[in-house]
């Protein structure tokens, strides 16, 4: 054993490589005269050297293969889950946008023929053709989807043709502009502008 607590502390500091030059010198001088401390220090150094000289055996050859054989294969879905977990607000927003777009998309794809008047006015139908009758004045906009518009009367506002054609009779008249939308993204943008609010949606009349 070291002969004093102070020397023990010095020995530890030297072995930890934290002793100052002065402390190192102090221990050295002391060990020159003190057999106990010299022996203690040398035994510690020897133990450390023995530890450092220990061989590091390699793991068996088949180790990697056997690890890989037990790890579960990750599913693609987990990647999304991993992203969603730490981003709850963004996730909610993303889910909302996806739902919204897909509902718009199904509306775009699967509502066949639709004619909407935003404002006041009476329409007549003939198959997939909506007719603004002669002498009728639509006090607002006419929106037609997946069909034809035959305007024999008058439309004071705009006519919006979503994948539709207009058959403007000579007598017909449109005060506003005729807007044609043939692509989903255009329609989506148009819809998002709030023009085509579903509150005003008038379903096609039977017949």
């Amino acid at each position: 054993m070291a002969c004093s607590l102070e020397m023990k502390r010095l020995i530890d500091a030297v072995l930890d490589e934290e002793a100052t030059a002065e402390e190192q010198q102090k221990l050295k001088t002391h060990m020159h005269d003190c057999r106990h401390c010299r022996q203690h220090y040398n035994q510690l150094v020897q133990s450390i050297n023995l530890l450092k000289g220990l061989e590091q055996p390699n793991v068996s050859e088949h180790f990697t293969a056997s690890v890989l054989s037990v790890v579960p294969i990750r599913e693609k879905g987990q990647t999304l889950k991993r992203w969603f977990k730490p981003h709850p607000v963004l996730t909610a927003a993303a889910v909302f946008i996806i739902l919204m777009i897909s509902s718009f998309f199904s509306l775009w794809q699967f509502t066949p023929f639709q004619a909407v008047v935003k404002g006041k006015g009476r329409l007549a139908y003939q198959g997939n053709t909506v007719i603004v009758p002669k002498d009728e004045v639509i006090d607002g906009d006419l929106i037609v989807k997946n069909g034809n518009a035959k305007i024999e009367g008058k439309v004071k506002g705009d006519v919006v043709l979503i994948q539709s054609h207009s058959l403007l009779a000579s007598a017909g008249h449109v005060n506003g502009k005729i807007e044609k939308i043939n692509k989903f993204m255009e329609w989506l943008w148009y819809d998002m502008k709030g023009f085509f609010t579903r509150v005003f949606l008038i379903k096609r009349l039977p017949g």
Binding site: D12, H40, Q56, P57, V59, S60, F63, V67, L68, T79
Partner: protein, 187 residues
């Protein structure tokens, strides 16, 4: 090296098995050696090393990319080893042959019929005795010795791995060193 590891971890998080294989190959020997010196037995150590990588893979999301990967991995390895010792104690290794008595079969790596030059044989015995003495230390001292002197890690790294203050780690290193000195002084 660090940025390469970071890239591999990113890939593993995306489910890339090849990246995981690369990580296993990079760290398998270190992880195995930590487990081996902690539990003393090669087969158990290999099982624990395998378990370490399995856990790392399944919990990779819990690894924060601003941390050092090896620290995180070695923590899993030491924790698993300490858990193993807690459950197994004391039957397996305390009943093992003690150096100085007849056979060391337990720690024998070399087939007995293989002829070895004498100094190699002595070196072999020496290795076994040191290994044995490390295993006589209580696990909390064993872990600091393994990480500091066998894995050559800094006190700071060890304190991160063991989740202990650096001062505690340092005290344990001193005590473990002293305990080993007593056991190995007649070498």
């Amino acid at each position: 090296m660090e940025s390469k590891i970071k890239r591999l971890i990113k890939k593993i998080k995306k489910g890339d098995q090849a990246a995981f294989e690369e990580i296993v190959n990079l760290y398998k020997n270190q992880v195995y050696n930590i487990c081996y010196r902690m539990v003393g037995l090669p087969h158990e150590a290999e099982d624990l090393a395998q378990e370490t990588f399995l856990r790392a893979y399944t919990h990779i999301d819990q690894f924060k990319s601003d941390k050092t990967f090896s620290t995180w991995l070695y923590r899993i390895a030491t924790n698993l080893s300490i858990d193993y010792l807690r459950k197994k104690r004391p039957s397996t290794y305390l009943d093992a042959d003690i150096p100085g008595t007849e056979g060391f079969t337990m720690y024998m790596h070399v087939p007995s019929d293989e002829r070895l030059p004498e100094d190699r044989l002595i070196e072999n015995e020496k290795q076994k005795i040191i290994h044995y003495e490390i295993n006589q230390l209580p696990p909390k001292y064993r872990s600091v010795i393994v990480l500091k002197y066998l894995q050559d890690l800094s006190l700071k790294e060890i304190s991160n791995i063991l989740n202990l203050p650096e001062t505690t780690v340092k005290t344990r290193v001193h005590r473990a060193r002293e305990a080993l000195r007593k056991r190995l002084r007649h070498f």
